[in-house]
Point group: C2
Chain length 218, copies 2
């Protein structure tokens, strides 16, 4: 419950209002109640990979594919998180850890709400990803680690924002893959070789996994 409760002797006198079909329930609305409204469960797809690996591209394409199937999906990415919830965080080690922690907690809330949540952040450390997995699994929520497995040579060649170039020139310090480690996912649920496959093939692979696991309807 929240930060206050009504005394018990009040609820017994509550009439059922026919005009709006409001029926008094003692319990809270459950995850199953929301799944009935949506026609699917919530879960978190945690996309992790180097800068330029294609996390956003895959995430957006997956979101379109799910939307077309009538599945409520939502993407958490730098755009809607770094400028809002995490606007008061910098890029030092502690703040990067806190950045991922908060995103993980928000993803958990979205998954609890019934949303297929697509998180799209480099999230380079296994311990941080494991912690996000833990809070999901402790809450009985499905967490799928999705490794956007693109070799750094390809990422650096793409370099869509010129960040690798700046990192190589020493203008950016602590850049993942250059002078800060990217810890390869130990045992990801899904390994997407976006260097070899098309975006469509990657999305097909993701949709197939979600279907196989019973998270969305085939």
């Amino acid at each position: 419950m929240s930060d206050q409760k009504q005394p018990k002797n009040e609820s017994s006198s509550r009439p059922t209002s026919q005009s709006t079909n409001i029926v008094w329930h003692d319990g809270e609305v459950s995850r199953a109640d929301r799944a009935k409204v949506l026609g699917h469960q919530g879960c978190t797809l945690w996309l992790t990979g180097l800068s330029g690996s294609g996390k956003s591209t895959v995430g957006v394409a997956l979101e379109h594919a799910l939307n077309a199937r009538g599945v409520l999906a939502y993407r958490l990415d730098g755009d809607n998180v770094r400028h809002g919830l995490n606007a008061n965080l910098g890029f030092g080690a502690d703040d990067r850890k806190e950045n991922i922690r908060r995103i993980g907690e928000v993803a958990k809330l979205f998954a609890d709400a019934g949303v297929v949540t697509i998180s799209s952040f480099i999230s380079p450390y296994q311990a941080d990803r494991d912690q996000v997995r833990k809070i999901h699994e402790d809450a009985g929520l499905k967490f799928l680690e999705v490794f956007i497995n693109t070799p750094i040579e390809i990422c650096e060649q793409r370099d869509p924002k010129g960040l690798y170039k700046k990192a190589r020139a020493g203008e950016i310090k602590g850049f993942t893959g250059i002078d800060d480690p990217y810890e390869l996912p130990k045992d990801p649920e899904i390994d997407l070789k976006t260097g070899e496959n098309t975006i469509e093939q990657s999305v097909e692979q993701l949709v197939a996994e979600l279907t196989k696991r019973g998270l969305i309807n085939s």
Copy 2:
């Protein structure tokens, strides 16, 4: 966009996969796309009021009423926020402000996703509530301040957790309404006199407001 993009020359060669009906889209999935899946828009109902005023009770009852109508609603409250996202915040002035700021940012993300978001926190300061309103309105999202307008005498009489008793005894310091101010909402969209009306009447009032504003279907 997120933290990286694909180079433009890749997208032109992307085939449309017929097998999963995936069609390439250049843009991101929009709020309108999600509203089509849900059959309604998202918004935030920001419940504010004293401890014991009935925020949770009204919130839970509203959530049931919306769920019964096929509306995806989700409650943010102390239970799912204080132990997770905001577990690293205390109860000092700065942390209480940051608590409401983060909740406001998360509510905004939920509303953006299409969810009728019900926030249930005392949130005693007008400036904090105004700031949450601002980030919603700046993003083109509806924000409804809902004053759970229960006189403190009734709240203290209910005292479901014995907190008023402890505050009066000086065992809790900085308790809203006793030795810390509750700033009355200046111009709330909805004023619920839960001391005079039944929970069902309050929920009917809320559902009527949501319908009138075109946020849910009648």
